[in-house]
């Protein structure tokens, strides 16, 4: 831990305030009847701090703290009656609290927030029942006195209810506050927050959420039992009354009021708890009503709490007065990174280095679904290996098998890494072995700053660590935003942060999950350069992506996957020559299905200038599209090109951020979403009914529609109308999803990737049916990953590349085919250059 000056100054605030307060107490400025309240407020501050920091840092909301508070108080009472020394009492209470707290935290880590609430509720209820029952120790309802505790270190004797005890309480609270300040700046807090905000990502950097929550709960419980001992001392008498479940609720109210996870907020919360009775009588309402209103009011109007609400404007005002304005978000292109783009495979693999990672016959199955089948991959230390394949090919599962995130999947086969077997190692241990990984959606810790996101990979943070991390952030161009939260940054910078976190501690192997996805051309070039630099420094890299150009510019070797198996291998220049690999992307289709010849001229649905973003990620830009009556319009694009966003906008269930959607008259649109999105626990009939019901169809018309739609389904589904949809095969689910869209008699049917994950025979069946619907006069928009399939079944095809329409035309037009293929892989601009290579 590093103590810089401002941290020391902040830490000294607590003791300073405590000393001032004690001076006031001693001078008699605080009236005698308020002395007890001041001491009580100090004790409550400790408890609120314990509850609030536990909630704020580890996300555990405990209603069990009244029980710990009681345990401490009864320790004081029992100790004073049996001649224990003050130190023995404190030690006994704190050890008991720590052990019980560690147990609750460890057990609770397996559960969601609600389960922990129940677990701790149960703990409080059981403790209270025991307190009432065990009257030989606790005095039952009658309570028990705390007479005096003598220090075995010769520090004197404290009588229950004495002024000295009150001083001790204030002093103790001051020390606890002083301890909390450096804890808030420590790696401990960062690791707790990391485990809370993204447990899975935390595992990949070696943080085990169970251990973190056990530790956090143990510390929190220890401080609360200590506060309980103090309570026993200042009151001089302990009875079960104060430790009710209502205290549990009041503690939560105090935390929420002050601001969860803030230290000053805890002081405010402690004061609120102490003076709530006076406050209530001042406003003339019963105490619980005030408490209830405060809870509801704060959560509705100041969800962050009072202290953060007040301090945020104060801080920004101070910043305006004292310092230059906060830096604006970094421009992503610092000069150093603008070096000319190097040719592909600038740093060659020698082909002689040792194999660092070897997977042999690895399969991963989730229930009946084989996500990865018999995969064998080997990677040398001096290699960048790319894995490609269409959506659902098993690429991410492969990475998860390497980084240990296969969840409840069954993994078989062998994985060797750096000479040891990897499958037995837990995900948290793999970081130590030298494996770093990034995520497709940049799973960063949203509640930590950029620097803390990387720092939390260390357990104890030294000044040198801070310097290392600063240098690392500088090297990826994040130095200017080191103190910001990831949420304030554009997606490209979040992905750099994800990479920086994986690179910290210099792993032997970096596993990158779609690192280029969602980045613009400039960012992709920077990233490619970064990967080459890593390779030059001796890191082995395993990378999967759909953005083939950039991927191939960094890879030495490419493996192609489909249906969970390897289907081809080669260098970036040759792998696409393999017909099987090529067809896994483009598809192979025999003859064209017979489409209805006439297409109406009337436009039923028109998009103009439509753009959409998700939290800074551009999904669509400036799309113009005209859907004419009776057309079968295909929209082809690789994974991540923006197809599903476009489907939602065409459907009308997603409002575009920019541009407009116009319909010709009242047009009913219906969507069969990607991945079917059936209600799996509902039967086939119920799935259909619900869709009709949603469109306002009930009673006899509903039954009629249901009968018609059932007729449309293939016979093997018609016979199983009362079976849950989960029991259907992929192709059958797709039929049902289309039927569900048809039951509302739409004018336009939008089908998003109907062929995804289906065997070829089933794909043909689904497409046959779509073409037949077109013959019946339905307008169909088909979103399709495989270009050739779109070309074979549609009147018109628009090719989507990185959110824009890169080419549009009719499949019958001979010049369009080559243009569309080039646009599919490389977009509109670079078309000429890449067509040659393909």
């Amino acid at each position: 831990m590093v103590f810089n000056r401002s941290l020391l100054a902040k830490a000294a605030l607590g003791p300073a305030a405590g000393a001032v307060l004690m001076a006031f107490m001693a001078s008699g400025a605080i009236p005698a009847y308020q002395m007890y309240s001041v001491a009580l407020a100090a004790i409550y501050t400790i408890v609120v701090l314990s509850v609030g920091l536990l909630a704020g840092w580890s996300g555990i909301w405990s209603v069990g703290h009244p029980a710990f508070f009681a345990i401490g108080a009864y320790f004081a009472a029992y100790g004073s009656g049996h001649g224990w020394s003050l130190e023995t009492v404190v030690l006994g209470a704190v050890v008991t609290g720590t052990v019980l707290g560690a147990f609750l935290g460890y057990a609770g880590a397996r559960f969601s927030m609600l389960y922990i609430a129940l677990l701790t509720l149960a703990f409080t209820m059981v403790t209270l029942e025991l307190v009432n029952r065990w009257s030989s120790v606790t005095g039952g309802d009658q309570g028990v006195a705390v007479l005096q505790l003598r220090s075995s270190l010769g520090l004197g004797t404290l009588a229950g209810g004495s002024t000295e005890s009150q001083y001790l309480a204030v002093g103790a609270a001051a020390v606890v506050l002083a301890l909390a300040v450096p804890a808030a700046a420590s790696g401990l807090r960062m690791r707790l927050v990391a485990a809370k905000s993204h447990p899975l990502a935390a595992r990949t950097i070696g943080i085990a959420p169970e251990a973190q929550s056990a530790l956090a709960f143990a510390v929190s419980a220890a401080f609360t039992t200590f506060a309980g001992v103090l309570l026993g001392l200042i009151t001089g008498f302990v009875s079960p009354d104060p430790f009710s479940l209502n205290l549990g609720i009041a503690l939560i109210a105090a935390c929420v009021l002050g601001g969860v996870g803030t230290i000053i907020g805890a002081v405010a919360g402690g004061a609120y708890l102490t003076w709530n009775p006076s406050l209530s009588s001042a406003v003339g309402l019963p105490q619980p009503v005030v408490q209830g209103l405060v809870l509801v009011g704060v959560l509705l109007f100041l969800p962050g709490g009072v202290v953060p609400f007040l301090s945020a404007p104060l801080r920004s005002a101070l910043r305006r007065v004292w310092r230059r304005p906060a830096p604006t978000p970094a421009k992503p292109n610092p000069a150093a990174d603008l070096a000319p783009r190097q040719p592909a495979t600038a740093t060659a693999a020698t082909g002689e280095a040792a194999v660092v990672l070897r997977l042999e016959h690895v399969s991963v199955a989730y229930g009946g679904l084989k996500a990865l089948e018999d995969a064998s991959v080997s990677l040398r230390q001096d290699e960048v290996l790319a894995v490609i394949g269409p959506n659902g090919a098993g690429k991410t599962t492969l990475l998860n098998a390497v980084s240990g995130l296969t969840g409840n999947g069954r993994v078989s086969g062998t994985v060797d890494f750096a000479g040891g077997s990897l499958l037995k190692a837990r995900a948290t241990a793999r970081r130590r072995l030298g494996i770093g990984r990034t995520f497709q959606h940049a799973e960063v810790f949203s509640e930590l700053t950029v620097a803390e996101n990387v720092l939390c990979t260390r357990r104890w943070i030294t000044a040198r660590d801070r310097a290392d991390v600063a240098r690392l952030l500088d090297s990826v161009g994040l130095a200017d935003v080191a103190d910001r939260r990831p949420g304030e940054l554009p997606f490209g910078l979040q992905k750099r942060l994800d990479l920086a976190r994986a690179m910290a501690e210099e792993p032997k192997l970096l596993v990158l999950d779609e690192p280029f996805g969602g980045l613009d051309a400039g960012e992709r070039a920077l990233l490619a350069q970064q990967i080459r630099r890593l390779h030059a420094q001796g890191t082995a890299v395993l990378v999967i992506d759909h953005v083939l150009d950039d991927l191939f510019s960094v890879a030495h070797r490419v493996l192609a996957f489909d249906f969970g198996r390897t289907i081809g291998e080669g260098t970036p220049d040759t792998v696409l020559d393999n017909p099987e690999v090529r067809s896994s992307y483009l598809g192979t289709v025999g003859g064209r299905a017979e489409l209805p010849e006439r297409v109406g001229e009337r436009s039923v649905l028109r998009l103009s200038g439509v753009g959409h973003t998700y939290g800074g990620v551009v999904a669509l830009r400036d799309v113009d599209l005209d859907v004419r009556e009776g057309v079968v319009l295909g929209i082809a694009g690789a994974n991540g090109a923006g197809k599903s966003t476009l489907a939602g906008i065409l459907h009308g269930s997603l409002k575009p951020a920019r541009g407009s959607r116009e319909t010709g008259g009242t047009v009913r649109t219906s969507l069969a979403p990607e991945g079917r999105a059936l209600f799996k626990t509902l039967s086939l009939r119920e799935n259909l009914e619900v869709a009709a019901y949603a469109a306002g169809i009930t009673g006899a018309p509903l039954r009629e529609r249901l009968a018609e739609t059932t007729e449309w389904l293939p016979p093997r589904l018609r016979d199983r109308m009362s079976v849950p949809a989960a029991g259907l095969s992929g192709g059958e689910q797709q039929m049902l999803a289309i039927a569900r869209a048809l039951i509302v008699k739409p004018d336009v049917l939008i089908v998003d990737e109907p062929a995804l994950g289906l065997a070829p025979a089933l794909v043909d069946e689904v497409y046959d049916r779509l073409v037949r619907l077109a013959h019946d006069g339905l307008t169909v928009v088909l979103l399709e990953q495989l270009l050739s399939r779109a070309m074979s079944v549609c009147h018109e095809v628009a090719v989507l590349h990185e959110g824009s329409v890169a080419a549009q035309g009719r499949p019958g037009d001979p010049s369009f085919a080559a243009l569309a293929e080039a646009a599919y892989f490389s977009g509109a601009r670079e078309t000429a250059a890449t067509t040659a290579r393909l």
Partner: protein, 289 residues
């Protein structure tokens, strides 16, 4: 043996009450992601109205209807004023807000009707003897009414289109939105249904416990234990969990110690959950990246 039979019947009767409250909690939780802590205090409000009506000579059954109505109306009012503004998926905030509401409502009840225990009428008095045990008819009626209510809920969810729509929203709110189901309307229906069940359960429970502003806190906690035991999102689980807790609670009170009944119930629940964290009927979830 006859003593055991008596305990068992009264355990099943308690369990039926916990099961009904748990069912109400699960219906609301699945539809709106709100764990409704205020359910007990809102139902208490209904009970006090029923007692006041009884004091004016209104038939008990009508009083129960009034209790259910008042509880439902108050619950919907709470949802529209303080829960809905929080927005979707605010699990913790919503829970704490309902705690706050619970404190306020409990206090309103105590300031209007006072803290002294009031008696709540049995639907039926008397006992029947069976295998040498004198079983209170009220217990049997409780079991029967709860069974009918559960059957009606079962029919609604399993056999009607409205029920299918509610299950659809519970399974996947996003898909339900794409399909075009009106989430707010279904949420209101779920709240009304859940609170109605809680009020009915309260009317069945109150004759045994007597009526004070906090009378329903204990059954609410036991219903919580029941739904956690059952798996939180499963309606069968709520009923089975409630019955288990009811029987266990009565066995513990009779054969161990009345003052340690919750210790037994909660220790049992926590132990089961340590072995099977998802509860008896719950499903394990797994986060994908």
């Amino acid at each position: 043996m006859s003593q055991f039979l008596l305990v068992l019947v009264s355990g099943v009767a308690s369990g039926a009450v916990y099961g009904l409250i748990g069912l109400g909690l699960v219906i609301i939780y699945r539809a709106t992601d709100v764990v409704n802590f205020a359910m007990a205090s809102l139902a208490t409000l209904g009970l006090y109205v029923a007692v006041s009506l009884r004091d004016q000579g209104v038939a008990t059954v009508l009083g129960i209807v009034a209790a259910v109505t008042i509880t439902v109306v108050a619950g919907l009012l709470v949802r529209e004023t303080v829960i809905r503004p929080l927005g979707q998926g605010q699990l913790f905030s919503a829970l704490v807000v309902t705690m706050g509401v619970s404190l306020v409502v409990e206090n309103i009840a105590s300031s209007v009707w006072g803290d002294e225990p009031k008696s709540f009428p049995n639907l039926v008095n008397g006992t029947v003897s069976w295998s040498g045990a004198a079983l209170p008819v009220q217990s049997l009626v409780t079991i029967a009414v709860a069974a009918v209510a559960m059957a009606v809920v079962g029919y609604l969810f399993a056999r009607t289109t409205l029920g299918s729509a509610m299950r659809a929203v519970a399974e996947n709110a996003e898909t339900a939105r794409v399909v075009g189901l009106g989430a707010q309307r279904l949420a209101r229906i779920a709240w009304a249904l859940g609170l109605g069940l809680a009020a009915l359960a309260a009317c069945l429970y109150a004759p045994r416990s007597g009526l004070v502003p906090t009378a329903l806190v204990a059954p609410l906690f036991r219903a919580f234990a029941g739904i956690f035991l059952g798996g939180l999102t499963s309606m069968y689980g709520a009923v089975v969990g409630g019955l288990t807790v009811g029987v266990l609670d009565n066995l513990a009170a009779n054969y161990a110690s009345a003052s340690l009944r919750d210790t037994f119930v909660f220790s049992f629940t926590v132990l089961v959950l340590l072995i099977r964290p998802q509860g008896i009927f719950g499903t394990r979830t797994f986060q994908r990246v």
